[in-house]
Symmetry: C2
């Protein structure tokens, strides 16, 4: 791994907005689904996924779901159930109540907090179909109280069947209420506008390829969407007490995701820097996804050596990484100084995969420096708030003149008159 100065390093990469051809193709697909519904949906599913379906075959049946449970190993079901339990427990703590502020003049002001009514979750086909991502998208919606959670995923084997049984089982365990075998931009458009077979949703989330990402941007406003994730990142902040083999393993676990992934060590120990660099080389040799991890380490990996831990913290705050591991002797001492990081893993035993799969916090975390202003997925992403204003007669009589002054100052006489007419008739 190369050793670079803090100034020379930035996690941020250009966002991929697709080619003009990809954008045009997506716009066309979205329009076709909007105007002809199932007809276009079935046609694109045949064209892109090679599955020649009819409308009545779009929805996954209970029978298929039961068959999927037979197909997967019991140990997988146990592992997914345990992870789902932890994730649910952590997200339960994020739930909030509607509240009211009761004023002495009889007025009531408040915020009403409600779940979204219907949410769509996109799950990619093939190798990118990660059961853990299904849990992380679906459980927060379910905990928020969303009554209808719809999963869409492409028919992956080109036949009429062919949805990964692990995904089906995970979706059922997480709380999905409807599943459809459609994918790509056509699935996103179907969720946004609805078709004869699929009712429209209020929000669409979940990862996908560039066509899925562009389709989500295209329908944003008609429905809400989640943010579009960049390549994954880890920054490890370590002092001389850290274990170089653990750090190397954690850096590689990030690097194996994707050639664009980024794995950075920030340390105040030159000795640790050298030991980690050597460990990374050694561990790379036997890693199955060696080629991916190596490309990531070469192009987007780095070791940054600082004078002090404090200086290292400045680097971390500037990078605003998706994942931060703090492997120093007293990690708790530094948490309060971390201003920008999506998820913070503390100490020797909090390896990132603990959070990726199991501990409970969400693994969908802001990338590309956006932890400066955004947050991991949580229950808040699946609720909406309404303000409530009940003003008493007493309150209106006491404050009406002030309200009218403010309205008239803005040249909005109609606003002032809405108050004036009440003061005249009730005063």
């Amino acid at each position: 791994m190369k050793i670079v100065s803090a100034q020379d390093f930035d996690l941020r990469r250009e966002v991929d907005y697709g080619s003009p051809e990809q954008n045009a193709a997506v716009k066309q697909i979205v329009q076709d689904i909007k105007h002809t519904g199932d007809k276009a949906l079935l046609q694109y599913t045949k064209q892109f996924d090679g599955a020649d379906l009819t409308a009545d075959l779009l929805r996954v049946t209970d029978k298929e779901l039961q068959a999927a449970y037979q197909e997967v190993e019991p140990s997988f079901v146990q592992a997914i159930t345990a992870a789902a339990h932890n994730i649910r427990q952590f997200h339960e703590k994020q739930k909030r109540n509607s509240w009211m502020d009761l004023q002495p003049d009889g007025s009531l002001l408040g915020q009403i907090i409600r779940p979204l009514k219907r949410v769509g979750v996109y799950v990619p086909g093939g190798k990118a179909a990660y059961p853990s991502s299904v849990l992380m998208n679906v459980i927060p919606a379910q905990v928020a109280g969303v009554p209808e959670i719809v999963m869409v995923t492409p028919p992956s084997t080109g036949g009429k069947e062919g949805i990964n049984p692990y995904i089906l089982v995970t979706a059922a365990e997480a709380g999905v209420t409807e599943m459809y075998r459609v994918g790509g931009a056509q699935a996103i458009a179907a969720l946004a506008y609805g078709t004869q077979s699929i009712e429209p949703v209020d929000k669409i989330c979940g990862p996908g390829n560039i066509y899925v990402a562009l389709a989500k941007r295209e329908v944003y406003g008609v429905v809400d969407i989640d943010s579009i994730a960049g390549p994954s990142e880890i920054v490890v902040l370590a002092d001389e007490h850290a274990n170089p083999a653990y750090i190397a393993a954690d850096l590689l676990s990030q690097a194996e995701h994707d050639e664009m992934a980024s794995a950075i060590l920030v340390t105040c120990s030159a000795q640790l820097a050298a030991a980690v660099a050597s460990e990374v080389q050694q561990q790379l040799e036997t890693l199955p996804r060696q080629h991916i991890a190596n490309a990531s380490i070469q192009n987007h990996g780095a070791i940054i050596v600082t004078e002090t831990i404090t200086e290292g913290i400045d680097v971390v705050n500037r990078l605003a990484p998706e994942h931060l591991e703090i492997m120093v002797e007293q990690p708790m001492n530094y948490v309060g100084m971390i201003e920008n990081a999506g998820a913070i893993f503390l100490g020797n035993y909090s390896s990132e995969p603990v959070g990726d799969y199991f501990a409970g916090p969400n693994h969908i975390i802001p990338t590309n420096g956006t932890a400066r202003f955004s947050s991991p997925v949580d229950v808040d992403d699946f609720i909406k708030k309404s303000s409530m204003i009940y003003y008493s007669k007493e309150a209106l009589l006491a404050n009406g003149n002030t309200i009218m002054e403010l309205a008239r100052h803005e040249g909005l006489e109609g606003h002032a008159r809405a108050i004036a007419i009440r003061l005249e008739q009730e005063g």
Copy 2:
């Protein structure tokens, strides 16, 4: 006002994404500011606002601020202070604490909640400079704990001075910490990328013209932005007990905003429908902004008569209005049935201007049907969350095998090994 069927009416309008020329112009401005900073900022300020400034004149001085306080009426300062007090009090109740979940195995899981560090608020020039909007954008950020709140507003009279003193005073009362006399797309780009004179921010909010809106879209991702508001809307849900003169005044207070604004009455009383239609005509006659209000009422206003209140509630939920007034005999009975509405005003004395200016809840509320999935501005819009994971050795030893099974199932051996190496060395 025309009486229409519920089926024939929809609040939603196409969103204005600007002409290709406007988009190209904004892209150019953003690139110029990104690459040459103050130089481009001063040049565009001269070109578009006619103000020939130097860099040292961009920032509003304390002296100017003091002069502004001398210029405005004491009654205005009192009114703004009273409104700011109420808005602050309501938003204070939205603050949340970081939290931890302490597990019996010694692990700690939590969410760290922090304010954004630096926020930019855009305030339009000229007649669209509403002091109330300054309060509604700035106070939630201030209550969230944002230490640096920067206001930008165009120099409005074409000279070196020329910022509306009411805006300056309101910004100071709300908690703005820096003010710059720049506007348009160039101001948005300066906030996003920073210049020699203006440090970059983490989030940009506040209304503006189409160039401001396009610039915000252009810089989204580099910084966070607020949502882009459509024309304002009110729906009044009323029964036969409601006062037609109050309803008409409230509908007109919305209609006077903008020819594109929408004012709708939904009622189960044909008699009330007729009375409101007649009142609207009568009150329109003496309204200063009669032409605007009349165009709005003609083109985007309607009275929808339903059989029952329940049917009226279905209409409301479908429309998902920005503002909803419930003027029925027992308004509290119906709040629980409202699924989609940005702000809900209850009873005869909760006229919309009460909320626009004074009561406390935010007046920046989702438009265009987006109350189905989004919320009024609040303190949550100015915080970010980080997950915290401290896993104990005991927890890792107990759960390591399950985590490895999930990782290996996804083909991510590097993830499994990050756990395995610890189990080997510590187990």
